[in-house]
């Protein structure tokens, strides 16, 4: 991390830790806005931080680490894409169905995060690319993911939409990979602390080799998710994130299975209670594994791409994305 990233990370982590410890309210979002976090990737000449994807991934990871129940990730991406065209908080969604004729959209957007109170939404456009719409035109059908994070379906009729070249589905996947990395690190930290404290058979669980080996496995998975998320952010920053984002979301998704299973296993029954703070992390991990593309989606995308190029291009293509 460079100096500026260190600064952003400290600021965001303090704020997220503080906000997560309290019950969220309207004033919580104001606290996020007041430090300007959602304009992290907005150009400096528009009053933003002018940050890049690596900066953003640091913040997104911390939002995951703190299981932050606020749409800072979605608002930051939306603001970067809106480029000053809207005021207020924006959000993003992974899917849309319907028709986009000229600048008129008829159809539904599904899975929009924290749609209630959002001023605008960025979603995939039918036929490719993305589109951005004013939320005043939407009728909102509320729902939530399995972690209780708001996810809504939005119906539009003859709504005005502006096309964007960005691939919001991929950008959402990159963000979820970073959140997964953070939430895995947090569940690992909680697990390590727990097994050092809890005693059975007259000694801390941490002293049992089976427990040690489980958590070592977990640590490797968390490490892989972290490296994948940062690597994808770097690739996106270089202007070619397609391959890396597919690989990163897929790798992060795979870490979810191992990580959540081991976190719960070493916690025993206490980790299965509503009161204990493990489930805000693990339930989010299970939800995020599906959002913006599950394993079958991204392995298909990557597999197709590689097979289309052929065996002898496999390694050359893999290295070309970083050279």
């Amino acid at each position: 991390m460079n100096e500026q990233q260190q600064m952003i990370a400290e600021m965001a982590d303090d704020l997220f830790a503080d906000l997560s410890a309290r019950k969220t309210s309207d004033s919580s979002w104001e606290a996020i806005e007041s430090v300007g976090l959602p304009s992290l990737m907005v150009d400096a000449d528009r009053g933003g931080f002018g940050g890049n994807w690596c900066d953003a991934v640091i913040v997104f990871r911390l939002a995951g680490y703190r299981a932050l129940a606020l749409p800072v990730v979605e608002a930051t991406i939306a603001a970067a894409l809106a480029d000053g065209a809207f005021d207020g908080r924006g959000t993003i969604a992974p899917a849309a169905e319907g028709t986009l004729a000229g600048d008129r959209f008829d159809g539904t957007i599904t899975g929009a995060a924290w749609a209630e109170g959002a001023a605008y939404v960025v979603a995939p456009a039918p036929g490719g690319g993305s589109m951005i719409l004013d939320m005043a035109q939407a009728s909102i059908g509320g729902a939530a993911n399995i972690a209780g994070e708001p996810r809504a379906n939005l119906a539009f009729q003859g709504a005005t939409a502006r096309r964007l070249p960005a691939d919001i589905f991929a950008l959402g996947a990159l963000a979820r990979a970073a959140q997964i990395a953070g939430a895995l690190d947090a569940s690992l930290a909680m697990s390590v602390a727990y097994v050092n404290e809890r005693k059975q058979f007259g000694r801390p669980l941490a002293k049992f080799q089976a427990v040690q080996q489980s958590l070592a496995t977990f640590a490797c998975e968390a490490a892989a998710a972290n490296c994948a998320a940062l690597g994808a952010a770097q690739a996106q920053g270089r202007g070619d994130g397609d391959y890396a984002i597919a690989a990163a979301k897929l790798r992060a998704n795979r870490a979810v299975g191992v990580g959540t299973a081991l976190a719960h296993q070493v916690h025993g029954a206490i980790g299965f209670t509503h009161e204990y703070p493990l489930h805000p992390l693990t339930r989010r991990l299970w939800a995020w594994r599906s959002e913006f593309g599950g394993d079958s989606h991204w392995s298909g995308v990557l597999g197709d791409r590689i097979c289309a190029r052929g065996a002898d291009q496999f390694w050359a293509d893999l290295t070309a994305v970083t050279d």
């Binding site: 690992l188 968390a222 391959y243 990163a248 790798r251 392995s299 097979c307 289309a308 002898d312």
Partner: protein
């Protein structure tokens, strides 16, 4: 908690040129007739290829020019290594000398030993083997019992090493010996440079389960060596050995051993694979992509002068598990005879048999996880 701090890797500007250079060398020198030789290729010795690499300046890349090295950056070296392994090049003859022995001699060796051995290593002509394991010292390496004792100005070596890869091709061994009589565990150990043709050194092949001859037993029977055979400081052997571990454990050879099989799988899949094979290829590619960043992150940290021992251990554990899982996953996904004659089958059959060794050599999975657990504060 963040146990692995990923690096924003800046690949060298010279990387594309180095890749092109390696690919041309491989195209000119490597016989692709038997696809099995492309798998786990850092265990496949080919002195002719090693000499060609040496002549091209691609061995000892980071060593000082005064010892025949080329003073390139660690990441430039990394690029060359990953290209060689991904291409299945037979780099087994010089691999150990290039990875650790040359650097060890430059760091701890006497001036005489450096001048005697290192330039030949850089030329791809002098090869090395690692004498750590003994019949009663495997994971518990501190149980080493082979001895070296003073006799006037000389040293006399007695005892046995085992599982010594390439002892039969190597010119020198770096051996970990007990130098203090009655010392226990990791105290009283020292490293020695043993010429394999020294009187009293004998080698007995051990045939592995595939029928191959890679590793050996090595016996020392009153082997007399001059004072300067000691590498580094007497009694400091344990510290010197463990200091090499980050480099040994995190290189691209720790995750690329089964890449030849992935490449054959892609070839067999063609442009329109079925869903299961396509998904498997995507998954293995994602894992390869991630491990590459992790492994290169370690190279960056080492280049900065850090010793990322914990992170390097994670790379080896994840990497070995990955390269070990590939054969089984491929066998489950495609109907192919692992006895051949299809290339995919041949490589599969070969790796099914070899892959159990991936999580043994260089420190077993359980030992690695123990090290990681200590890093997590569990022991």
């Amino acid at each position: 908690m963040q146990t692995f701090v990923p690096e924003s890797i800046t690949w060298p500007d010279t990387a594309p040129a180095l890749r092109a250079q390696v690919r041309a060398l491989v195209a000119a020198h490597v016989d692709r007739g038997d696809p099995r030789r492309l798998a786990n290729s850092w265990a496949v010795p080919d002195p002719r290829f090693s000499r060609a690499l040496g002549a091209a300046g691609l061995i000892g890349m980071t060593w000082p020019q005064s010892y025949g090295g080329h003073e390139r950056s660690p990441l430039e070296r990394y690029v060359v290594l990953e290209e060689l392994l991904a291409a299945g090049a037979p780099v087994g003859a010089h691999w150990i000398a290039d990875r650790q022995t040359g650097a060890l001699l430059i760091r701890y060796g006497t001036e005489e030993a450096r001048e005697r051995w290192v330039p030949g290593m850089a030329r791809g002509e002098i090869y090395a083997c690692i004498g750590l394991s003994e019949p009663n010292a495997g994971s518990d390496l501190a149980s080493v019992r082979a001895t070296a004792r003073h006799d006037g100005d000389d040293w006399i070596l007695d005892g046995q090493k085992v599982w010594t890869t390439n002892a039969h091709h190597a010119h020198v061994m770096i051996a970990l010996m007990r130098t203090e009589e009655g010392s226990e565990r990791n105290a009283g150990l020292s490293q020695f440079l043993v010429p394999m043709d020294a009187p009293g050194v004998s080698i007995r092949p051990i045939i592995d389960l595939t029928g191959g001859h890679d590793f050996n037993e090595v016996f020392f029977d009153g082997v007399r060596l001059p004072a300067n055979a000691l590498v580094g400081v007497e009694g400091d052997g344990w510290r010197q050995v463990t200091a090499e571990l980050s480099l040994e454990r995190s290189g691209p050879e720790r995750y690329l051993s089964s890449t030849a099989l992935l490449i054959e799988l892609i070839r067999r899949a063609g442009a329109h694979p079925d869903t299961a094979v396509r998904a498997l290829i995507g998954r293995l590619a994602a894992e390869t992509w991630t491990l590459r960043l992790m492994s290169a992150s370690i190279a960056v940290k080492i280049a900065r002068g850090e010793d990322p021992a914990l992170e390097a251990t994670m790379v080896k554990d994840l990497g070995n598990s990955f390269e070990q899982a590939i054969p089984e996953l491929v066998q489950a996904a495609v109907e192919v005879d692992p006895a051949g004659p299809e290339p995919l089958g041949l490589v599969l059959g070969h790796l099914l048999q070899l892959s159990p060794s991936f999580s043994l050599r260089g420190g077993t999975r359980e030992i690695l996880k123990g090290i990681i657990a200590r890093g997590l504060g569990l022991r």
